[in-house]
Amino acid sequence: MNRFTLILLFLVTWLSVFAQTQFSGLRLWLTVPMALSPALICYAALTHGFGITVSLAVLSGLWADSLSASPLGMSVMPLFLLGFTLQLQRHLILRDQGFAQFWIGLGAGAGVPLLTLGILSLTGSQPVTGRFTFIQLLLLGLLNGIACPVLFRIFDLLHRSFDYRPLTTSSFRADRETVRGRQFRLR
């Protein structure tokens, strides 16, 4: 991880929150907004440190709430809990595998809005929900499930592009090898 990829991660999250409010045509077609914050938190939790995951969850929750009718702070806890759980269990997760990334993204994409709705109902708010909400949650899960492996690939590519390249040639030279032993042996 270098500073550039870290800045890029926060920048992409900021842009994704803004994108959730745009693209009416695509939103109408999909029936859900392009909410990719859960997939980004998954990526951060599985590849970055605890502090970065928490910061990203808090910031993206606050950004989303600032553009929404939800009370401020409503989206913070679900995103934080997602990052927190993944951070604690990441040694058990096959995070380099595409299928694992897909299922984690799917679960996160459906689970985060479900948890937010649960907290909203506890606070006495009246979100507009119905039978179609279940389908929307599945669609959000699917969207994040597809986005999660894609985000891993893109960020890995950027990470490789902007980080120091690993040394491919060895500095070992056979003619300079010091052979230790009782007798000098010619090779």
């Binding site: 907004p33 989303a64 553009l67 009718a69 702070g73 806890m77 604690l88 929900t129 179609f132």
Partner: protein, 268 residues
């Protein structure tokens, strides 16, 4: 295994969430506006891009089409001028009659055009963001319309942007009347099976057998937020609930809330 930093983070985020949720409404709006201000450059870029696309579109349009449009608009403008004169005459007569019976005078609406710059990032709120705010004299509870009909009301007014709660949102209950039968009802928040934002549910205050599909729904003026007579929608179908005590009707809104680009804010 939880470490000390994990406990600290849990406690910190929990406290932050609780303190933010318990902020007074006015302070919460201010904090929201402050955080939302980070998106102002993006809103600006979007507006500039829209302008650029519009101008590019004008360049491509042939001159004959532009002249046709101009002539059509001139004709419409002339017709509207005549209608306005008739309307002004009727308004003056209405004011005279209202003053004769001692009713409060009803002034003409002052309209302010606002551009829709975003929609709610969640699926469970029906709100939009417009590019006017408190510095443009927008205040909460001002009525928002499109050319076709009622859109909603201002729910939060920031400095440069405002949030509009659309018809069908929990923050935007509308007292309505069926034009043909004068039966009173309320548009309540609810989601239809298809998730279609163009359909809302209207609960009538009593069993109304005369209600049928195709009848027009207008604002009743009760409740004090929306003036009477604004077009809301058309009844699609009806059903009786609670042992025929109430009639519920699905209403197709006249304004297409999914494709709003510009709206009018009614100002006193």
């Amino acid at each position: 295994m939880l470490k000390r930093t994990h406990y600290l983070a849990l406690a910190g985020v929990g406290l932050l969430t609780l303190s933010l949720l318990n902020l007074p409404a006015s302070l919460q709006t201010q904090v929201k506006s402050a955080i939302g201000a980070s998106f102002l450059p993006l809103f600006g870029i979007r507006a500039a891009a829209d302008n650029l696309l519009d101008r590019a579109g004008y360049q491509v349009l042939p001159r004959s089409t532009l002249i046709d449009n101009l002539l059509r608009l001139e004709r419409e403008n002339a017709e509207l001028r005549v209608s306005t004169l008739q309307g002004a005459d009727a308004l003056a007569e209405n004011q005279r009659l209202r003053s004769a019976i001692g009713a409060a005078p009803r002034g003409p609406w002052h309209l302010k055009l606002a551009r829709v710059v975003g929609r709610d990032p969640t699926t469970w709120w029906r709100t939009i963001q417009v590019n006017l705010g408190s510095r443009d004299n927008l205040k909460p509870d001002q009525v928002v319309m499109s050319g076709a009909g009622l859109v909603g009301r201002i729910s939060q007014a920031g400095l440069s942007h405002s949030q509009v709660a659309l018809v069908g949102d929990a923050e935007c209950g509308v007292a309505v009347v069926v034009k043909e039968t004068r039966d009173l009802g309320i548009i309540k928040p609810g989601q239809t099976l298809s998730g279609d934002g163009g359909l809302v549910e209207m609960t009538l205050l009593q069993n109304c057998p005369g209600i049928m599909a195709g009848q027009v729904v207008l604002t009743s003026g009760l409740g004090g937020v929306f003036p009477a007579g604004l077009p809301v929608g058309t009844i699609v179908d009806t059903r009786n609930e609670d042992g025929n005590v109430f009639t519920t009707a699905r209403v197709r809104l006249t304004a297409n809330l999914n494709r709003l680009e510009e709206v009018w804010v009614l100002q006193p």
